[in-house]
Subunit: 337 residues, 2 copies
């Protein structure tokens, strides 16, 4: 026997499935004439409502989206696992969208969500994201959004971050305590608020130690590993007195190690290195890497818990809770001595 | 001025957007009366067709799905980038779904695709995937699927793989040439065809060298790093004469290095190590790691090219092309001497 579902009714009556669904739920949005047509056809074809299809009526997709810049970073990989732990418990699918650090891509993705494809969004903004209109539009449609790690400045919504300023302060202070006198900060995407925080932490540690804070000691890196390697090599050649490096993102580690090696600079005796990194391989590098390790898994989990709280609450009440989870300085051989 | 689009026309006429779209395309599926209503309303509201919206008429989602076990592996991260390069050129969205190595999760994801959510699927099966019914069902609905890296045995469809047997053979032979006499193979998920290939390559190299192939020298690892560390420590303690290790997946590297270090085994003088790995950090490990490096980016790209070929061709013609791209043995310090 052919199965009669809402789709079949919609085809039979040349109406949309959402019209059928709403008519069967006696929604005020559907006129009485249409309602009658739908109910009669449902009776005629012996339509039995599917108990699991209640999502249709409530227009739920049982899907949440995770929008992130990339998956190369251990932080994002671990955060996704944290998010999925919570989502699976709730019976939700998780879709992952990559922006590849491009605002245009991020805008297109969020625009696609306006059709109701997902119930909620967990995101970390792209490096290019300065405007926030596309996020505001989504919120205006009552799609809850929770940010993690990289948050936009303009949208007042829920977010889960780490103590970026303190972490960077700690990393820099650690190098100064190990007698570094000229500390290079490797920055990337200064428009991001987390990067501004990390620069500020670096500045405070220097100032506190009575050392000058100068743009000369900040190197703006890119998302291309080869380019970063070249930039670093050039920088270290021009400033051979550099004796400490704070790398503010994980992906810079390999370029730093390779540039130092090829210039004959020994880590840690010539240059000491700290990197923001969640990579498991930090402990088996040559030398093992001192890291600022972020609570990636827990951040993902916390963001998902916040989002599901938003999904349960009344529509129109925007999420605004802000959580800050602490990162950890793990001292290894790259800053020894 | 308000923008008049198909959605607006659908609302105005209480019809589905696909009905509107087909009516405007003069489809035989729509009756003459409805067609006239649609055309009149389009004229009245001054509707201008959007040249980029042709996807509506052909019921396309302009979305492809990438279904993979995890994102922790550099291989998958690089493959995704290869896929997205092609998809962006074609104006397609890419959704990433993670199975976390679970068949049940994979089945649920593929079932969700049957509603037309995506136009095509690029996938690498989970460790638990032995049955292929869920993939067959999707193919029966004319949703093209291309597999990469991990392919199922039963479904005769397009796939992009690497020369796993030869790569493993080369890795083992390399260790034997460096005078290893007892080579441990670290396996994971033996049900996967790529793993069987890698074991077979290992067997051939041993046999060719006149050495015994024994189950005693194959250690079945898990997806839990801590468990793997324990298993390895126990194994190496019990068999201290082990002088070579072939790790068949990237994630095993850290456990191998940590276990050797904590047992006081020096790499490469006591134990030589080769790992299948695409990680950029291979060159900065202590010692730098000899790897079998897979053509990850190119595999993703090739899989996407095959899929779009399938999307362009007539429905009902299943994709069956099989591509094999070669991996590369990159010799570094972990097998020196």
């Amino acid at each position: 026997m052919e199965k009669i579902n809402i789709k079949r009714l919609a085809e039979e009556l040349n109406l949309s499935t959402s019209t059928i669904s709403r008519a069967l739920q006696d929604s005020y949005q559907i006129g009485p004439e249409t309602k009658q047509r739908v109910v009669e056809m449902a009776k005629k074809l012996n339509y039995v409502p599917n108990p699991h299809a209640s999502s249709l009526g409530s227009r739920k997709s049982n899907t949440i989206a995770v929008v992130i810049p990339e998956v190369f970073d251990s932080y994002f990989a671990q955060a996704i696992n944290g998010i999925e732990t919570v989502a699976q418990e709730k019976g939700y699918h998780v879709l992952i969208y990559l922006t590849h650090e491009r605002l245009e891509q991020e805008q297109a993705i969020l625009r696609a969500f306006q059709g109701g494809r997902v119930d909620g969004v967990i995101m970390s903004v792209s490096a290019e994201t300065t405007a926030a209109t596309h996020m505001q539009e989504l919120r205006d449609q009552n799609v809850p959004i929770v940010f993690f790690d990289r948050t936009p400045d303009e949208v007042d919504t829920a977010c889960v971050t780490t103590n970026d300023l303190e972490s960077s302060y700690l990393a820099t202070k650690h190098l100064l305590e190990r007698r570094c006198t000229t500390v290079l900060l490797l920055a990337i995407s200064r428009d991001l608020s987390i990067m501004r925080q990390r620069i500020e932490g670096y500045r405070r540690a220097l100032t506190e130690a009575g050392l000058p804070f100068t743009e000369d000691n900040i190197l703006d890196c890119t998302y291309d590993d080869e380019v970063n390697y070249e930039l670093l090599t050039k920088f270290l050649k021009a400033r051979p007195y550099t004796d400490g490096i704070v790398a503010t993102v994980e992906k810079l580690t390999t370029s730093v190690y390779q540039a130092c090696r090829n210039l004959g600079l020994r880590i840690p005796s010539d240059v000491k290195v700290v990197s923001f990194s969640n990579s498991r391989s930090a402990s088996i590098l040559n030398p093992s890497l001192t890291t600022i390790t972020q609570p990636a898994f827990d951040s993902g989990k916390a963001a998902a818990v916040l989002l599901f709280k938003g999904l349960k609450s009344k529509k129109g009440v925007p999420l605004t809770e802000k959580l800050v989870l602490p990162s950890e300085l793990i001292v290894r051989d790259s800053t020894a001595g």
